[in-house]
Structures are given as C-alpha cells and as structure tokens.
Symmetry: C2
Subunit: 404 residues, 2 copies
Amino acid sequence: MGLVVQKYGGSSLATAERIRAVADRIRRARDAGNEVVVVVSAMGDTTDELIQLAHLVSDEPDKRELDLLLSTGETVSATLVAMALEAMHCSVVSLTGAQLGIKTDRFYSRARIVDVQTDRVRGELSKGRCVIVTGFQGVTEEGDVTTLGRGGSDTSAVALGCALGAPRCEIYTDVDGVYTADPRVVPDARLLPSISYEEMLEMAQMGARVMHPRAVELGELYSLPIEVRSSFHERPGTLIHGGDHVEVRKRVRGIAHDTDVAKITVAGVPDRPGIANAIFAPLADAGVSVDVIVQTTNRAGNAEISFTVARADLARALDTAANISREMGAQLESAANLAKVSIVGTGLQSAPGYAAKMFGVLAEHSINIDTITTSDIRITCMIDEAAVPEAVRALHAAFELDLE
Amino acid sequence: MGLVVQKYGGSSLATAERIRAVADRIRRARDAGNEVVVVVSAMGDTTDELIQLAHLVSDEPDKRELDLLLSTGETVSATLVAMALEAMHCSVVSLTGAQLGIKTDRFYSRARIVDVQTDRVRGELSKGRCVIVTGFQGVTEEGDVTTLGRGGSDTSAVALGCALGAPRCEIYTDVDGVYTADPRVVPDARLLPSISYEEMLEMAQMGARVMHPRAVELGELYSLPIEVRSSFHERPGTLIHGGDHVEVRKRVRGIAHDTDVAKITVAGVPDRPGIANAIFAPLADAGVSVDVIVQTTNRAGNAEISFTVARADLARALDTAANISREMGAQLESAANLAKVSIVGTGLQSAPGYAAKMFGVLAEHSINIDTITTSDIRITCMIDEAAVPEAVRALHAAFELDLE
C-alpha cells in the first residue's frame, strides 16, 4: 500500500461543488489502495477577504493576530473536504497545523518550518483514515499559530511528504502543469512532462507562478519528486524531479517572464567598502525583498547600483533608499515600466552560445536590453514591459520549444 | 487592580465598526486600572452561515469536523478585536480555547468543560496584556476542538471568571438586561436591577432568551455574580447573584413565555412500570430534548402521558413515539399551537396564593389552560399561542410588576 500526499489550491476548492469533486478524487486515490494525506489551501479568495477584514479594524494589523485570523481559512476548507469525504463513506479526519504538529519559528507571516511531527498523522493513517491537513500554517513551540507566507501551502505539502517519506507529492492546481512559456502569451507553448528542480526554481523565481520556489527547494533538498497537475481533469502534469544527471541536456527548457518589476538606480555612489551594505541593510529592515542587483563602476571611481523590487514595494523602497542616497550625495532614479524575460535550462551551463543567440533574437526584434543577469542555468534580460509578448514568442520559436 | 471578565455576543461584534466600539470599551476598562479578560462570540450570523456551508457538502456533517469548522467563527472575531485594540495602543493577545486550555469532554457539538487552565492567561495578564478568548469552544485531552452547544460563549465566560477567581463576569449583549417580561409584549415591563440565580434559571428555561441556563447554573455553583448589560450604551443592566437569603421575598419577579413549544400526547397507555422509560429512552437516543412531562392515570388503569419538545424537533419526536405507541397499542396526538406562560419568583415557594391568582387572571380573560406544571419558584401554564400577549400583559399587571 502506497502513501500519497496531495495538495489542492484555493481555486480547486472555491465552491461546494469543487470541494465535492476534490473529495471524489481523494476517495479514488484511497480506493486504489493508498494511504492518503491531503493538504488544502483556503477556499478561493478567502485569504484576501480576511486581510481586507483585518484592515477594516486596523491600519496595520498585528502580525500574530493576522496569522491566527488567516489560519481559519484553511481550517474551513479542511473541515469541508473532510465532511464531503465522510458523506462518501470514506473514513477521514482533518488536522490543523497545530494539531498535526507543524512546528515553525516565531516569524509571523513568513514562518519557516523547523519540524513536522508525524505521530498523530501516522496514528490516523493506521486507523484507515484519510488525513486532511490545513496548509500555509504551523505553530510555535509556545502554541501560537503562524503562517508560512507566499507559497505556504505548497511548502506544507512538500514538507509533509518529506517527513512521511512519501514516494512523491502531487500538487493539484488550476493549470495543467509547467509549460515552456506562459500559454496565455505563447499559444504553442508545450506542457513539459518533466523538469529538474533547478530549472523549476529558476522558472519560478523568474516569473512562472505555477509553484513557489521555496517548495521546490525543499523537494530538491529531500529528493522528493513533485507532480504539478490540474484538479479539473485526469491528464498527467509536470514531474519536478532530480533531473537527468548522466548527461547535461543541451537545451533551453523554458522561457519565463515577470512584469511585476520596478527598478531603482542609485547613481554617483562613492566606490568604497560597505556602500552596498549601507543601501541594502535598511531595505531588508524595511521588509523590502530585493531581486536582481547590478553594480557597475566608472573610471572616475563612482559606482552605480541598480536593483529591482516588486512594484507593490516600490514606494517603500524609494523612501528608504532616498535617505541613504542623500547621505552619500548620490542620485536616485526609478522605473516601473520594465519586465524580466529569462531563458532557463540546465543545458546553458556548458554552452556559451545561448546568451549570444538570446541577445540576437531580441536585437532582430529591435527590443532594447536594459540590464542582463545570469545564473548557471539562466539568462535574464530586463526589457520594456510592452515588448514582453513579442520577446517571449520570438525566444520560444528561436529555441524551438514548440518542438518535442 | 481588579480583574474584569467580559463577554460580547455576536450582535455586538457584527461589523468592523461595532468591533472597534467593543475594543474601545475594553480599552476603557483597562485604562481604569483593571486586568481584562474578554470572551467573544462569532460575528453576527457567522455560525449559521458556516452551518449552511457544511450542509452544502454533506447532508449530515460529521460532528468533529463541524465543531472544528464552527470554531473558526470565534477565532475570526477574537483576532479582529485584538487588532482593533492594538490599533488603540493597547497591549493585547488573542487565545483560542485550545491555546488557553479550556479542556472539555469528547461530546462534539455539546461538549462540557472539565477544566480551565489558567497558566497561559495569567502569564499574558502579568505582561500587562488584555486577553481576548474565543468563546463557545474548547479542546479535548487529545487536542481535538469541541464546541459547547447553545449558550456556549456565556458558559465560556462564566467558567473563565470562576477559574480566575474574578469578582464578577459582565455579559454584553443587544438587550439592556433582564426584564419583568418581554418588553416587546409588555410595553411597561421593567428592567430588573438584580435577580437571583434560581429566578434567572427559571426565567431562562421558561423562555427568557437573554442568558443560557447553563451559564447561570455555573455562576451559581461558584457564586460568581453575572451582570447582563447592553454593549450599545453605558447604563447598568441586571446583576444575577446569590439573592437575598435573609428573607425570602414575597414577590413574583417576572413573567416568562415561550412559543417554541410542541406537545405530544400518548393516550391509552397500559399503566405498568417501565412505560415512561419505554417512551423517553428512545427519544433521548434520537437526540430529542424533552421539556415538560405530565402523566395522568384514569380509573380504568390507562395512563396518558403528555410532553413538550421544541417545534423543530416535533417531526423527529413523532416518528420515534409512533413506533412505541404502536407497540403498546396507544394513541398518539400532537399540537403545535401551544405556548408556555410562567410566573417566576423565590416568593412563590412560601405563598400558595400565587397559583390561584394566576389561574384566576387567565380565567378572567377567558384563556383556557391546557396543562399546568410547577417548580418551587415557578408556575407554568400551557395555553393557546394566540393568547400569549394578552396573558403576559394581564399577569404582569396583576402581579404589579410595573411598580418599583
């Protein structure tokens, strides 16, 4: 008898009808002879609605209280899924993060899992019950409820899969899996039957929203294969796994893009040690997450530091950066019309021709490159947001991603 | 520095604006130098809405799952009240029944409190924090969440007041306190400044909805004075306390009425031992709560047993009773047009004239009495529902309840 860990996202649980459909899928996994552990997100837009409610009583809701408030969303969906299963004569129990024992640190709204206790869930499984677990949440040593931040439910599911030694984790969502590019932008984008952890991480960090990088990292750490697939049909999705280590594939695997980008440039910075720290430490204190950082130095010995943030954080980042650049006599500029386009693939690390080809494709389409950054298996160009669809389609075709 | 335990009902917390008003009242109690522990119900009609949601996925929701689902309602209101207080710069923490340690038995949907742990709440109070506690819920020894059934949040508040040794418990609601009769029926009904536990119990059991009998019983057991008052203004309400034990007052204190009454009569029952048990044991198994029971026996040796149930339970009670009366060759009748009218007061136990006066008043108004039941401090007549307003007004005047 196998152990199956499944996770269902909010859109898969948005209505009573969908909850019954999810319950039916769980029942079939059980009837096939498996032990089944299911992690659920909050129904539909519940989390956003609870955040709005909090802001009706407080401009800046206390983080501990907000976490406890938000945790109710997953409790509602977990109990409803359990009731729907019970109505199908399937023995079941729901467990909150606190009841199961998903232990975290005390960083409310972005807690990290430190331990997953398995006694209770194993006990319930041994009684022949399916176990429905609230995603996105955990509990501190002191019994206070925390939430895991963005991508939290995916992380809960992968962490549970790792702790229970499951052979794999199935992530059910409202898309079919991981595509070679966003199918809304590239009509002939192809569903990838498999992708390596590293490639998925780069795709996710560079804008592919299908799975949160954090859950992928955890899967990689414990070598837990993760299948991303749709809850609305039966077709297989994309398996994220250790990849083909025998031979590095000479291929670009996908094109990612992200339009939620704002760029800040601090120009005329004196080039001396500690400058970067002087800029980025206050941003970290202000809770601004910085993505790409590029520093250049001119002959006169002045540095220019550019970095990108999510657009929602731009105002806060500018406030913080303004103080520092005033102190060091630097100039501050910002732009909110840029976007990132990336090519990702393990093949890139041993084949230098890909960068030249990418720049050539963009040049052919008269698309100007603002900034370039790279990793071992990724090349990212910052370009004008308006040029994104054309750039993604051109790159998808040039790297022959539409071909099997 | 005193310890104040307050409880706010759902209508006092129905909107963000009301939540802020409640927070302001809590803040004032704190600023007056008190330690403050607050028990909250779910916002407005949240509990009913969650029950409806459950019925969308299951015809008969599993009780453990339903309890965990319903418990989220109080968690939402507790965290919102805490956030609103924090926004007023008042140090505060919310605790669920599980976090605080309100331990119950395992009877889901009608759990009984077996222990209230006070370490966590005392620890928070000693840090200068107000403590907001979710009412209506507790947790079993195994960590499963239970709910306390009807009147649950009042019971939570009184139990906490008892466990913490508070000098009294304040129940904030949407009525001004306990009246000599329902003010919607009797315009000159008078707010009672105080009432004894026993009188309040009889009033509550006989239809005065202002407080659940269970919480009153608990208050009596621990001699905890309970003040019922409005959350919408500053006027004092009704203090429920040990009463005037020095001298039994020669007075009727109030008129209660209850129209949620259905009566079932089993006629032609053979009068032998075990008959009452044969009727009522299956009703208890079916979860039907029976209120008034009257048995009479005629000269032929046949008994007639009448009992009342809530109207919502009538169909279920008839189903159950039909089987038994068929077996014993008895006839079954039912009526759903009756109501109970009661006079209540500790004065009744030493003055036989009250019963005669009550019957006389009803006779003067040509109101027929179907059934009579009494306790030490109460006389109840079952009458036609349509006659209730006239009966209550006439009794209120006859017993001079409009006079101070």
